[in-house]
Symmetry: D2
Subunit: 284 residues, 4 copies
């Protein structure tokens, strides 16, 4: 089976980036299988994601990596070269509500999400049986009002022990402390059950109901210190009429949450998301 690598690059926009990169890929026998580029003309910033397979002879990854390390410096590039077959290591965090974690687990098992889910962490015991079905270790880490620090110290410990790449907050419902947000910047994905920036914080469906909006939505985003204000990966909405009660909003919203979280998470797993400031470039 052919090896595939993903080269993800962002840097100040300059002449000759594409020529340089594509030449170097050709030089080391790579072939470009999928190419996405974007230039932000306001910030003069360049973004690129290439999927590289083997050409006439196998792609010489190590040779490429070595020379690219040198050359990229001149372009002030931030870059990664990722083996596409290497699954990212993931911790799934949940609270009581099963719809998002179950959806992630089902998509994972059915092969939609190329990753290794390592364990589940929850402040409740409700999802323990589900974790069992999927043969996953389950860590019950209660978050007690005056002892939140202990809980998040334990969570940090688990992320370190598991050497996880990504943490997915599948309706985890607790606020992540600033030091963890900073430490794992761009590596914690949350689903917020509103169309951000509308209805930040608690009970967004109730806020939406009370405002009388005609569409409700959900947003998957990276977690940052400011609540529900991190870089947005994906959003979607569903129509609600006056006849939709708060309870029905919650039911309808679940489907949007599932779609938006799993889509955003998949983009992340496939290295399709590039964070730039508080925004994202998503090469879907």
């Amino acid at each position: 089976m052919d090896k595939v690598f993903r080269l993800v690059v962002s840097c100040p926009d300059k002449l000759g980036i594409v020529a340089m990169v594509s030449n170097m890929i050709a030089k080391y026998s790579g072939s470009i299988r999928e190419a996405s580029q974007h230039t932000d003309f306001i910030d003069d910033w360049f973004f690129m994601r290439y999927e590289i397979g083997s050409g006439l002879s196998p792609f010489d990854v190590e040779g490429f990596r070595k020379e690219f390390s040198d050359v990229s410096t001149g372009f002030e590039m931030s870059w990664r070269l990722i083996d596409a077959k290497e699954p990212k290591k993931v911790i799934l965090m949940a609270s009581k509500d099963p719809h998002c974690p179950l959806d992630i687990l089902h998509r994972w098992k059915s092969g939609e999400l190329n990753c290794e889910i390592q364990c589940m962490i929850s402040n409740h015991k409700d999802m323990e049986k589900v974790a069992g079905w999927y043969d996953l270790p389950y860590y019950h880490v209660p978050v007690i009002p005056d002892k939140k620090e202990e809980a998040f110290a334990r969570i940090n410990e688990l992320i370190e022990e598991y050497e996880s790449d990504v943490v997915v907050l599948a309706r985890y419902m607790q606020i992540i402390p600033p030091e963890l947000c900073a430490k794992y910047a761009g590596r914690i994905i949350n689903i917020h059950h509103s169309f951000l920036p509308s209805f930040v914080g608690a009970k967004p469906y109730e806020q939406a109901y009370n405002r009388g909006v005609k569409l409700i939505g959900a947003t998957s985003h990276y977690v940052t210190e400011e609540l529900d204000a991190g870089p947005i990966i994906d959003q979607d909405v569903v129509r609600v009429s006056h006849s939709v009660s708060k309870e029905e909003m919650i039911r309808l919203g679940k489907d949007v949450e599932r779609m938006v979280l799993s889509r955003g998470f998949r983009y992340h797993l496939e290295d399709r998301v590039l964070i730039h400031g508080n925004k994202t470039v998503v090469f879907d």
Copy 2:
């Protein structure tokens, strides 16, 4: 051609409303052609819209109206009986941007919007030629920073002279003073170029661009004293990726604005919108 009337009712929820209303319609030879009902179980409030045609003999409107006036009191009803063929009288207000007013005018001329557009009012001269094409009087009422009161006094005068039922702000871009909002409550429809409550106020596309949202939208709503906070009639969104510039957001948003304003306006013209507190019931 058969006469059609619309009976629009809202009142505290009580037993026997439907039986009372449908009996009285039958008694005066009306036949129910279209029926919509809604009960708000939180506020215990009942909403109804019936389209009434003639039964075996013509619907006795005057008889019905007289008896219904008496009976409805016991139900604390707020109600209207409207001749569906009687077009509402409308003033169209615009600024420089032609896409919304042109769309309303085209839909009006092609028969989609049953109303009588009486004139156009604008703080600029840009749309004067368009008004000419449609044989509409055009009132250029400049809004000058220190003399805003004069402008809105003139606008109020025009609404009174024309005895207008509805004022449509087709991207009018000026803030309506509180006294006009109060005087014409439920009769001034605005299009705001964002998915409210996100991005209230000026330059919503720029706000959306800077926040990095993945969908942009528009909202048609009744104007109230608090800016962009009145009862929402309709909303819609369109997907935008990272590659969509501010200018392209404006272009894409225009289509959403057109759809959402014309749809909300049509609902209003067909008496499909019932305002309750700061929310609407829309029997579409």
Copy 3:
């Protein structure tokens, strides 16, 4: 807890239907909680669905049922009065693909679908473990090319033994023989993985890929003798660009199938679907 009944009526359009029905509900102390009506002006046919709770005293169901049976004859009504709390009995049929049956099962367990799933039937063994998780009997009924009759005789037997109200074909992939289609008319719901009437029959995603459509879809419908041609309950679509491969179409389509099947099935369970000829009225 208050009892709720659903009165579902269809009949030739006539004067006084609403007055008659609402009077009779009032007479037996019922209160109308939700009301939907539709008149087909081409066929002159009337459709109605009322949710009836108790009024000042409990709704006298038996009294109502008795008198309504008599009176409805004069209106040539086809009608049902259903106890909303009485869950419908359901058989879930699947093949190898788990996404639709799993989704139905998850929504059922989480309380979204008010029904009693009695058992699963499949021509394969793949879903047996899943049935086990949900404590459901699992009938493996292989469909062998020359012995299809045997298989469907067994399936018919199971439906009869279980006295099922509805059969859901959750990507069952076998053609139901005409006699079963006729016997269980309006009681077998299928999900077809295309936007009907496009791409009837086998491999609709491949057909869609080859035609180069820019949206793919799914359709939930009642099964009739003619393949994929029965009354449509619900449909939806998702955008696909040129870059979406056949395999990705299948992945994207799964989410549409899940939504459209579960939505159509829920409408059926809540008696919101009225079949008229080869079309449906769906009071959502």
Copy 4:
């Protein structure tokens, strides 16, 4: 103002295409402003669209064109290099229905569509006044049952005289004869008022109404000899319930037609559409 060129390429997939093209652009001082690529792994075919601006010195178009002509032969490339500022020449054809032609004309005048609309051709006189507003020559070419050949000979003559690049059938409603389809392959864009391949031919809304579909749509496509079967550029849909009459379907459909035609036409004008067999690659 900086000159911008579009390089559009399709060819058998081979190693080194991107490197070759990007090198040559760099060699002639071009800078890549927007890049889109696609590989069809079933047909092993490569597609590319680059927007090229000037680099440190102005892009040497003639030098590039000359060398690229030679080099591209080895790749069996079909390619075009287009000056992005050079508006394409367009003939707009209409019948009686004004919504599509008016929408195209409005978007053109407001600057959304970079092209030169040269004239209107119609088999009816209804749109003559509209053409006048926009200062466009109007050719009334009646299509008489036994003399269709004459009409299309005249139309061909006009396309030749005007040296038009594109013909837009904005609800033209007449079948284009095979010889014109062949002669102007990939240059005639039609809007069909259904979600193709459903409801080919006449009265698609009536077909949709009779089938009882829950979404109706529209399709913009290139015209080929087989009716409504050419390469699809864009499609969209709108939800319709049982309560939507045939007349309302037509009204709702108009908005979808406008969107889908103008979007497809814009993609074409910006050289974003590459035809491959009976399918399109659309770099939107």
